[in-house]
Symmetry: C2
């Protein structure tokens, strides 16, 4: 509540800004009508005929008959997937009309815990992007199977939930709900006790399993892959977040059956989950999704609602955001019509921040707190010896487990292969597409190195390493030989975090992520260019996966299905246990 | 969150109750489909095919192909207007399919403060009606113009907001918002800080005044009297509660323009505000409103939503109530179809409580706490002298202010009249329809008696008195002569509160409200019969207002427009001041 906004609304004090001559899209009634919007500070004071709010010093924007729609809201996004620091992240989203995101900053939490998340939230606080914090439900996800820097247990979660910007609990994972994992249930109860919302991560759930998860009180789920998934969740009272992101894009498949049946869509929204910077620069964000929605035949107001009012409602925030009405955050996009949908002007928190895709006053780079930059704490430099998988000296062959990535989604399966053994060291086999993979603990906690075999990337030469690896963000390294892997890992450490491609002992290309080993201060356009270059370099090493590092980063996901590599070793995720990569030896 | 419900949902433990062979009305998608509902404890575990939840001890209800809809929710009701104690109140509502109400228990608070409200909430806690508590925003409304028993200031409101059943702040009155009354704004801020909701009382607000009120953060308003009112509020992002109650019934007028324009109705619900027991018994509650909605041409699911999902959403409670889905409160009505809509069975919190309008196991009368029963604390019995308005002995006539009630809504206007003076005492004038009215303070705080003149009721004989009078609930007495008024007031005191009709010094009829001076333990049907009898008695005294006591109870409303009578005297409500009822004398 802001008295000055009330006074402008009441007509006794002038507006700071008045947008006139627009067509107001009313997401509440579904109407569109000529009018304007008056703002005071960061809030909307009046909508419609706002002449009464205009004073001598009121800034005027003439919308020229264009449509006025609420700023867009992404109800589930991990900013870290962009590898952008929060300020360039805010900037690229605002350029595309997104003014609010809900995020758990889970990856920041994995590396640096709540303290690091709070430092990151401070960095974004004086930008024009509004972040609502959805508290991570569990870090590390698999405490017995991986080492993380940060920790979220029920006590820390309670502390985080008490923040004024905390609005819920994120990624309540189905497997833990089904197993009634006591720590998760405790945090879920704490969240409901505060009248905040629970957000599910329910891939593959259906029938009684889905019912059990939803009976626990989840408000949303973002893991629909098909129309059947979406339909079952919607019918069961779950707000469905349809994903159109860089890793998974299921919007069309999920939505068409709902449209075809003429269902109420007020409990459906569009989210990205993960948005790569290349996609953000080349395709856009929710503005591109509105174009997609319109192309699917959705009405203009319905399409706008899916990225405004609907996500606001899913978080019980529709008094604050998601519509054009007195008291709401002054997030307003001036857009062209449904035929050729483009965001032309972006007003965030009452300030004109972008015009025709140009960000008007780029944010200066901020000085980061030490907890965000001092995160590469290897006990010792890595050596070839430390990466080798050795067996009985006299063995000739080894049958091994191979982690195998699918080529369209970063999900792993398991296969087996028979590899040659030389002097007790198991050899890779490029013919069979079996490479070395390892994960090196980087928080200075135990010096663990997990080692296994990897398929699906088809690299023929060199090695690549990265300090981005879900859900622990240790250093993951993939290679055809140990010397290149050593160079790659040690260069990542020298960079303070980042991604590196090595061949013949030479660093071919690299990208520094000195913030948490995850993020760069480069502007989005420049980072996208550097990412494209790095991807090109990796392609020359033979990788057939276009987003090699993105896929590789999910190969350490111990909470997924299939197999994974963590600093603890090869993980059988489905059974949540560590397994020896070597099945048997032949002599 | 309830582990046992999760286990039933997950199929590992049996349901307590399974309703089979129904047609499930899905308020989320808008679909209707064959299926059932399984419950465990007080919650829904599964919907649709629930065969997997049925065990040996699961109770089965065969819906016989009838429709299954969520229990009804009244988002704004003052139970005290029924004059029923909470248990018979719960019973009559449940009989009609209402399983949840949002209420501020404002009148209880006026008499006994938060302590009395908490005692009342305790009384209802072990019934099957769910009450969400919307904290009164201000008691007394006009501290300088009336005496109340209870007090709600920002500190007490903070304490009340901390209750787990508190979901918002009630009756945020427009005049106080417009004047930026600091205590109200402080409590509104406290409410928003807890992420709870603000509920407006905005009669007559439009344009900048409405904008100012809504900019303060109000979620709802229940004071639309016309389609224009409803339309303007809806467009401005306000959830509109349309009223169909015993005092004001504006549902049709307000709704038709919204239907005709084809607007989104998800932010519209139906409430009663005040429901007299006679209406509840004769007409019903929200079940009757669903019939009205259907008669207006609304679709079946849309009509059901207006008394289920929509009010749940207005309070951010749609994860708890308002739909048939896993985890929701097991409030289920088995109803006939849209053609001949009747509630046939009512399941509340998982228990079958009513069948074909019969309440299966009536609640026994509860022993009330002393704070609820010891509320008639007059310092001295009233005498004729204490009720007289005296002037200069030699005056012949007096020009006076007359409080004049409208005959269709209990709202007062002011008129003047010239009355005879006899021996210094101003006389009533039945020809001009000017009666005596007075209000006697009953909390033992100051012994105040306010005196004035009243028109509009047309009584010709006797006197009536009542301990029900908004917003202070002192004893209000209306009469043609002082001796009958004295008998009436003192009899109300003897009853420990109630309503009395007197003629010629004889009590003709009476109704005891020994709980707070407001409520009776009689069952609804019996209280309705007694009320009808009392109304008949009053009609014989000449009153032309059918609900005389209901109208009289609003004549002490110092926060309304027009004039009012309180224990402080005649109140000019619009100017919030006490005025002398005597304008001038003639000699």
């Amino acid at each position: 509540m802001d008295i000055s906004v009330m006074r402008t609304a009441g007509g006794t004090e002038p507006a700071d800004l008045a947008i006139i001559n627009g067509r107001v899209v009313n997401v509440y009634t579904g109407e569109m009508s000529e009018g304007g919007i008056a703002t005071r500070g960061d809030k909307i004071a009046a909508v419609g005929d706002v002449a009464y709010t205009i004073g001598d010093d009121t800034e005027i924007i003439d919308a020229g008959g264009k449509y006025l729609v609420p700023g867009f809201i992404d109800g589930h996004i991990h900013p870290e997937s962009s590898n952008l620091a929060m300020r360039p992240f805010a900037q690229i989203l605002l350029q595309h009309g997104t003014t609010v995101v809900m995020t758990d900053l889970h990856e920041v939490g994995v590396v640096g815990g709540l303290e690091a998340i709070e430092a990151v939230l401070d960095e974004v606080a004086d930008t024009d992007l509004k972040i609502y914090f959805v508290v991570p439900s569990h870090v590390p996800f698999s405490p017995d199977l991986e080492t993380s820097g940060g920790l979220f247990d029920p006590e820390i979660i309670r502390k985080a939930l008490a923040r004024p910007d905390a609005i819920g609990l994120s990624e309540c994972v189905c497997t833990y709900i089904l197993s009634e994992y006591h720590e998760l249930l405790e945090s879920m109860r704490d969240t409901l006790d505060r009248r905040l919302t629970l957000h599910g991560h329910l891939p593959g759930m259906s029938g009684p399993e889905l019912n059990k998860c939803l009976a626990a009180g989840l408000s949303t789920d973002h893991e629909s892959f098909s129309g059947e998934d979406a339909l079952e969740r919607l019918r069961a009272g779950c707000h469905v977040q349809l994903r159109e992101g860089s890793i998974a894009s299921n919007l069309k498949d999920c939505l068409m059956p709902l449209i075809d049946r003429g269902l109420d869509l007020s409990r459906v929204s569009v989210i990205t989950d993960d948005l790569d910077t290349i996609d953000a620069v080349e395709r856009g964000h929710l503005d591109a999704d509105v174009r997609l929605l319109l192309s699917l035949g959705l009405g203009f107001v319905d399409a706008i609602r899916m990225v405004t009012l609907n996500p606001a409602r899913a978080f019980n925030l529709d008094q604050e955001i998601g519509g054009l009405a007195p008291g709401r955050r002054a997030d307003i996009n001036i857009v062209s019509g449904p035929e050729d949908f483009r965001v032309e002007k972006v007003i965030a928190a009452g300030r004109l921040v972008a015009e025709n895709g140009i960000f008007l006053k780029p944010y200066p780079v901020v000085a980061h707190k030490e907890i965000l930059t001092d995160t590469m704490k290897l006990r010792d430099p890595v050596t070839a010896d430390s990466l080798r998988i050795t067996v009985d000296n006299s063995a000739k062959f080894a049958r091994v487990h191979v982690i195998q990535t699918l080529d369209w989604i970063p999900v792993s399966e398991e296969r087996t292969a028979v590899l040659r053994v030389e002097d007790g060291v198991i050899q890779p086999d490029l013919e069979q597409d079996v490479l070395y993979v390892a994960q090196v603990e980087r928080y200075g906690k135990n010096g663990n190195i997990g080692k296994a075999f990897m398929g699906g990337f088809h690299m023929k030469r060199g090695a690549i390493a990265s300090s981005v690896g879900h859900d622990n963000h240790n250093i993951i390294v993939l290679g055809t030989n140990h010397p290149d892997m050593v160079v790659a890992v040690n260069r990542v450490v020298e960079l303070g975090g980042g991604q590196v491609a090595v061949d013949g002992g030479i660093v071919l290309d690299e990208l520094a992520y000195p913030i948490l080993g995850l993020l760069s201060d480069l502007p989005a356009e420049e980072l996208a260019e550097r990412k494209r270059r790095l991807n090109g370099t990796i392609a020359k090493l033979g990788s057939t996966i276009p987003l090699t590092f993105m896929f590789l980063s999910f190969m350490s996901l111990a909470a997924g299905g299939g197999y994974a590599i963590t600093d603890h070793g090869l993980i059988d995720s489905a059974n949540q246990k560590i397994v020896d990569p070597v099945i048997s030896l032949e002599y």
